[in-house]
């Protein structure tokens, strides 16, 4: 097994899986019917990407775990998603701000990953680009609507941004896993994405009349399996059924 490739694919997969799970919590609770469906669509796209990536991770691993066992039978410390995607939904402004930060990152990530020498990752990325491009269009228009809306909506969006900003540094963190795979032309150089991401977010925040928080201390750990208190609860909810009835079919 290629250990680096397995871990790299799991990191990508877990970001999608955990975010999809978070977004799906809104299903049936959206601010109004149309937006409820829009966010559910985004969650479904995200689960689709997660499924493809987990399926590939299980092939790379070559053990007896399939995509479902990877999703349902790993514990918190074995999840490698970034801290940002596991943060609680909060109000709608917070969900949307979290999403726009990730969407802007994903557009850049998948654009680069589509050029990967690993054909499977490149294929998954090519399919995901169109989806995340639409997600960004949707969520960025909401950020502008909140920021440039009423005093209250601006305040809520700004508070969400201030709270979530400390988790954005981790998006661009790299370790030996990435470094090894960048040499082989497989992984994306995240450091190179950072200035592009910042430029895009700067422009969006300007349009939305929101203030960019200062780059102070950045939280980190998710990529190594060390998470905030939120992930455990999310996994408990996501995994409870398959763990109670491990061989259930439906």
């Amino acid at each position: 097994m290629n250990k680096e490739l397995f871990k790299y694919t799991l990191r990508l997969a877990d970001n999608a899986l955990v975010l999809g799970q978070r977004l799906s919590e809104w299903t049936g609770h959206g601010p109004f019917l149309e937006e409820d469906l829009a966010l559910t669509n985004i969650a479904l796209d995200t689960f689709g990407t997660a499924t493809s990536l987990l399926e590939y991770a299980s092939r790379v691993e070559g053990a007896d775990r399939n995509e479902d066992s990877l999703a349902y039978f790993r514990n918190e410390r074995e999840f490698y998603n970034t801290l940002l995607v596991e943060q609680a939904n909060g109000d709608y402004a917070k969900t949307i701000v979290r999403q726009v930060l990730v969407d802007a990152f994903n557009v850049l990530l998948y654009t680069e990953l589509s050029k990967s020498k690993d054909e499977t990752l490149s294929g998954i990325a090519q399919k995901a680009i169109k989806e995340v491009t639409y997600h960004y269009r949707h969520t960025s228009s909401w950020v502008i609507r909140f920021g440039d809306g009423t005093e209250e909506s601006n305040k809520k969006a700004q508070e969400a941004l201030n709270e979530l900003w400390r988790f954005t540094g981790e998006l661009f963190e790299m370790d030996e896993v990435e470094e090894e795979l960048i040499k082989k032309g497989i992984a994306v150089d995240l450091k190179a994405l950072q200035p592009k991401w910042e430029k895009q977010i700067d422009e969006l925040l300007k349009k939305a009349i929101l203030k960019k928080p200062e780059n102070s201390f950045m939280q980190t750990g998710g990529k190594k399996g060390i998470h905030t208190e939120h992930l455990g609860f999310l996994l408990a909810e996501m995994q409870t059924l398959p763990r109670m009835l491990p061989n259930a079919k439906w």
Binding site: E34, L37, A38, N41, Y134, R137, S141, R145
Partner: protein, 95 residues
């Protein structure tokens, strides 16, 4: 009509290039861009189309039930308006 969900928009979907835009339903949205995005998410999730129109319901002028008689009944007895009195040469084939 408007409430806390914004005004109502009518959605028209074109299935293929060259085909007419067909009305498929309505939705709530606060502006044009949101109406277009909501139309995409509500009415084209299953490959229903390749192009979308959205229009404010309030911008549509419609006939009312009282208009039915004067508007449509005069056409009832004018069969000669149907192009069925012509022989179409075989060479033309299906029109």
């Amino acid at each position: 009509m408007s409430d806390s969900q914004g005004p109502i928009w009518e959605v028209f979907v074109q299935k293929k290039a060259g085909q007419p835009f067909v009305h498929c339903g309505s939705l709530h949205a606060f502006d044009k861009e949101m109406a277009l995005q909501n139309a995409r998410d509500l009415y084209t999730r299953r490959n229903e189309g390749m192009s979308l129109w959205v229009v404010l319901s309030s911008a549509i002028v419609s006939s009312s039930p009282e208009d039915m008689g004067p508007f449509f009944e005069p056409a009832n007895d004018k069969v000669y308006r149907h192009p069925t009195f012509y022989q179409i040469p075989d060479a033309i084939g299906h029109m």
